[in-house]
């Protein structure tokens, strides 16, 4: 089989861009948030420093943890890397691995990564981790459901669950972009993304043990393993955000070809800036929620997606 070098180059560009750009977006978002809160805040590239710092440190593993605990960060990172080359997060045309999974497969891979992370957290034997696992699992009832239903909604509009075809379809049919199903699927997905990226004001992303949700899963990790874990979840954020941008919010503007792939990187940065501004606005204007209100919040997102999916069926 002849190796198509352009395809290899495009694949590499997409993969490397995802892996090495995602901490940058976290940094930008933190910086913007601190500007809104009128403080100076850390530098934009602080997340890179964090990674480097953690990578130089020693990892400590709890005495009664098994090998699962050690391997899971790598596995999760691997799963996220795989997702990053099968959906159009940078380049709007098929690359090396694209034929392997569709939207539904992507959602299942996200589920897989979440599941093994929960497994590892349970394996650590820490009470707080178990706490967090229970929370993540009970919130997952609605969040995973929303994720899948949202993709069904897209499939309903475009007639396919291939993300690349979807993106092309939305670019060439602006009226599909305005259908009720698509608009409300976008809203539901945005709500889901706000939750998944830990931006709901419930202290889910702080170090307070009682308010932890996602961070409780990496509570026992340290050093290199923690770095990998963090990096993996940043990739996840980037992937979800890019799907939101490229399939739901702003499907336009992506270039094709090898050079196009390079051009796409600044385009994606611009799109992300828009998203970050929206997110920071939402994050800073919301009042603090009680932890158990997350369930209500997610059920609303689920309802919106499901309800307007049904509406899409009726109205057609």
């Amino acid at each position: 089989m002849a190796v198509d070098f352009a395809l290899v180059a495009e694949t590499l560009i997409q993969f490397l861009a995802v892996v090495f750009l995602c901490p940058f977006f976290i940094g930008v978002s933190n910086k913007l948030k601190s500007i809104v809160e009128s403080r100076n805040g850390p530098s934009i590239i602080q997340p890179y420093y964090d990674i480097i710092k953690l990578l130089q440190k020693e990892s400590i593993v709890p005495g009664n943890a098994s090998n699962i605990f050690i391997y899971v960060p790598y596995l999760a990172f691997g799963v996220y890397s795989l997702i990053s080359i099968v959906i159009p997060v940078i380049l709007p045309q098929p690359i090396y691995f694209t034929a392997t999974v569709d939207f539904l497969g992507g959602a299942l891979l996200f589920g897989l990564a979440g599941f093994i992370k929960m497994l590892a957290a349970m394996d650590s034997g820490n009470n707080f981790s178990a706490f967090g696992v229970a929370r993540v699992a009970s919130f997952g009832v609605f969040s995973e459901g929303t994720l899948i239903v949202v993709f069904f909604a897209v499939a309903l509009i475009t007639g396919t669950i291939n993300p690349y075809v979807t993106n092309n379809f939305l670019v060439s049919n602006p009226s599909a972009y305005l259908t009720i199903t698509h608009v409300f699927a976008t809203i539901a997905f945005l709500m889901l993304f706000i939750f998944e990226s830990g931006r709901l004001p419930v202290e889910s992303s702080g170090l307070m043990e009682f308010g932890m949700v996602e961070d409780a899963l990496s509570y026992e990790y340290s050093g290199k393993l923690l770095a990998i874990n963090k990096w993996g979840s940043w990739i996840k954020q980037y992937l979800l955000g890019s799907v939101l941008l490229n399939v739901f919010l702003i499907p336009w503007g992506l270039q094709t070809g090898v050079l196009g792939a390079l051009e796409d990187i600044p385009i994606m940065i611009l799109k992300w800036l828009v998203l970050i501004v929206i997110l920071v606005f939402i994050e800073t204007s919301l009042a603090k929620m009680r932890l158990f209100k997350i369930q209500d919040y997610l059920s609303i997102a689920f309802l919106i997606s499901l309800f307007f999916l049904i509406f899409g069926l009726v109205i057609g």
Binding site: F142, L178, T179, I180, F184, S299, L303, F307, F311, V314
Partner: protein, 214 residues
């Protein structure tokens, strides 16, 4: 699909969202604000229909909805809230279960009422495509569900106003009834809300009474 029909679809979807929001909202004042929003959205739909059909009647109807339903009714309701308005609430629980039940109610509304009954019978509607009738039906059903799910008096009245909004929406999409009838209906609803709020002053929560059983 052109832009104006798409806009009408969007606004109708917005009325549904307000209906869901009212269902979940424990604070009475916020519910009243939302019913104002819903009425204003219905007024906007009426304006959009006026543009779409080039018919001046709809503008009149829209103004009527916004001023009589939106502001007068809500003013009457808001007067009945006890002191510390923003804190007056009903203790609700179980948002996900309420939502899922509401979803079932709405889906039943769509499928039974629309698919099996109306989609084949009502074909010649003012809006053009008859599937728009689904929205008013769901609003009416959610209004009934609101009355069933709540115990607070004002929440009941708001559920009733929501149903009337659904009826107005239905008449906008199907065929606007004669203006004099529409006006008397509006006045009736206002008077009913007035009377209901007088009753609401006597009692704010509803329980099952032994004397009124069987």
């Amino acid at each position: 699909m052109n832009l104006i029909t798409e806009l009408i679809y969007m606004l109708s979807a917005a009325t549904l969202l307000t209906a869901f929001y009212i269902l979940l909202q424990p604070f009475i004042q916020s519910m009243i604000r939302t019913i104002i929003t819903q009425s204003v959205v219905i007024g906007l739909i009426s304006f959009a229909m006026a543009y779409y059909l080039r018919n001046i009647d709809f503008i009149l109807l829209g103004l009527l909805v916004i001023f009589l339903r939106g502001f007068l009714v809500s003013y009457l309701l808001e007067r009945q809230i006890p002191k510390r308005k923003e804190l007056f609430r009903e203790y609700t629980k179980g948002t996900p279960s309420t939502l899922l039940t509401a979803l079932i109610v709405a889906v039943v509304g769509i499928f039974i009422v629309y698919f099996y009954v109306f989609s084949n019978l009502i074909t010649d509607v003012a809006f053009g495509t008859n599937n728009i009738i689904v929205f008013p039906f769901v609003v009416i059903f959610l209004g009934i569900f609101q009355i069933l799910a709540r115990r607070n008096t004002l929440a009941h009245v708001i559920g009733y106003v929501e149903q009337e909004n659904g009826i107005v929406l239905m008449s906008i999409f199907l065929i606007p009834v004669p203006f004099i009838v529409e006006l008397t209906v509006f006045l009736d609803v206002i008077a009913l809300v007035l009377i209901a709020s007088i009753v609401a002053r006597e009692t704010s929560e509803h329980k099952n009474l032994e004397e009124l059983r069987g």
